[in-house]
Symmetry: C2
Subunit: 344 residues, 2 copies
Amino acid sequence: MDQMIDVETLRSRVIAVLEQFGAAPHAAKAVGGVIVDAERDACKSHGLYRLEGCLRVLQSGKMRGDATPTVHAGCGAIVEVEAHHGFSNAAFAAARDTLVARTRALGLAALVIRDCVHFSALWHEVEDLAQDGLAALSMCPSYAFVAPVGGHTPLMGTNPLAFGWPRPDSDPYVFDFATSVAARGEIELHRRAGTPIPEGWAVDRDGAPTTDPQTALDGAMLPFGAHKGSAISTMIELLAGAMLGERMSREALEFMGDGGTLVPRHGALIIAMDPAVFAARSGRDPLAQGEVLLDAFGAQGARLPSQRRFQARAVSLRDGIRLSGSEMAQLEQFEREGPAMFDA
Amino acid sequence: MDQMIDVETLRSRVIAVLEQFGAAPHAAKAVGGVIVDAERDACKSHGLYRLEGCLRVLQSGKMRGDATPTVHAGCGAIVEVEAHHGFSNAAFAAARDTLVARTRALGLAALVIRDCVHFSALWHEVEDLAQDGLAALSMCPSYAFVAPVGGHTPLMGTNPLAFGWPRPDSDPYVFDFATSVAARGEIELHRRAGTPIPEGWAVDRDGAPTTDPQTALDGAMLPFGAHKGSAISTMIELLAGAMLGERMSREALEFMGDGGTLVPRHGALIIAMDPAVFAARSGRDPLAQGEVLLDAFGAQGARLPSQRRFQARAVSLRDGIRLSGSEMAQLEQFEREGPAMFDA
């Protein structure tokens, strides 16, 4: 039976479970916060559903839940944070104030997250920066499941791209999407249901289009938007992989190996910009200009990305989060049994 | 009858014509260079075909071909250049060395081009920076011809996005595309030919899909890649319009008015990154890592963006550029008649 749970109560319980499984308090707070925020926003794919994976990875020995991120502030426009095999969210939390200060000082700055375990959606970080008045672009590689347009062998990840823009009187403008045409999980759902996938999602091992989910999983997923999306996915691989000197998607897939536990270990890149500094010489108010565009979207009935998420958030903050009986039972099992439950 | 002309000969003649029509030598060199480079690379849509428009704009009084760009180097990560109603290319040429130096010093820097007339493709600038070892992202608004997904009224431009990445032993990785699904000129060609446009290119005034080119031109073009492309186009409008305090696509369209002469007057944003600085702490060679990915593209037969352009360039540099009889006749008319030819 479904149960309602207060957002902050769920947050405390998820953080406590993460600590119980070996995450340091700062790391548990960061990654648990992102999981609960996604659940609050009705992003089920990045919500409580992700907790078990996090706990398994904590137990796998392939990451360090107790790592303390090291911030290298340097003196240029690049702030770096070494995650030391810890969660990306903990690394971001450790470096975000330095990034914000540097961005305000120089107008533009980048945060390089090194050697992190990347479980979360990117919208969380760009929304956080937009709430502080900054525009931000975020990207990272993932696992090589996607072939370039015209190819047949997976070379790129589903490489998410996120962007946030501050709005003075409402929730920020935020988008966050995979640069593959679909998520791998969606293909898996079709496989289990025995239904074909839509055309354009994937190719077989020889590069021929396929609508069979198993053939797609054995072949390669495709980027969104044909050659344009393929180019953007390639750019993400170059900027957030090669440029940082961190793992690219092919290496991340090799690192994961066949062991079963998904350990998304690579780097991430965030570019933050201060509109107030960029616009200063123009004499115009950049955020007011943004409102002209975004208000006009609404006036013609076009939905803004993340709009549904912000609406779900308002409901969750008012009424609490609805969890299914099995979701609640699983949370209680984590709390009751602790790390021993994965020993079997 | 077709004629072959040497690249440098064509360059000198185009530059001389631009000067004859009122462009200052530095501006003629910059914009003429971009036009001839596009023609050399078989990018006909941005080649010699654009010269007449440039000359008409020079004569329109809506721009200043003799403007001297002012570089504001500042001391942060933002370099600004005021084009003073001159060509964007001249402004870029004036500021690019400052941008390169700032990027090498800080790891990351942005170039803001203010109040320019923007005739060219963006690949030229990112290729130039990539030839100097930098990764670069470039974007600008254009005219409001594109509706957001779910809408029906044009609010955004065809907003191009370009990216360049240096390759040690070959032409850089460069892409440059409109974030609309098609170019406006392609719809116009269908209208003239009386053929329908493909589904997904445009909607009518009420937001309903259309394949009729005139209905499309009266309605709105669509972004590439559905809601993902729509989000990217929105981002370009916000970053390269609102954030800079420069005209957004709707204002650029209003500025152009009904006068007929196309004067694409707005700003542009270039973000340059130095992979050597970004990767320094990793101990890896970022360009060598990029090669692993890009070589693997080639190995499976996937074409890289701009590959066809670089191949055409090699042929043009060896054999010269092939111009049609009418292209050559028009060039000769510009040379013979000068600005007086637009008086009629």
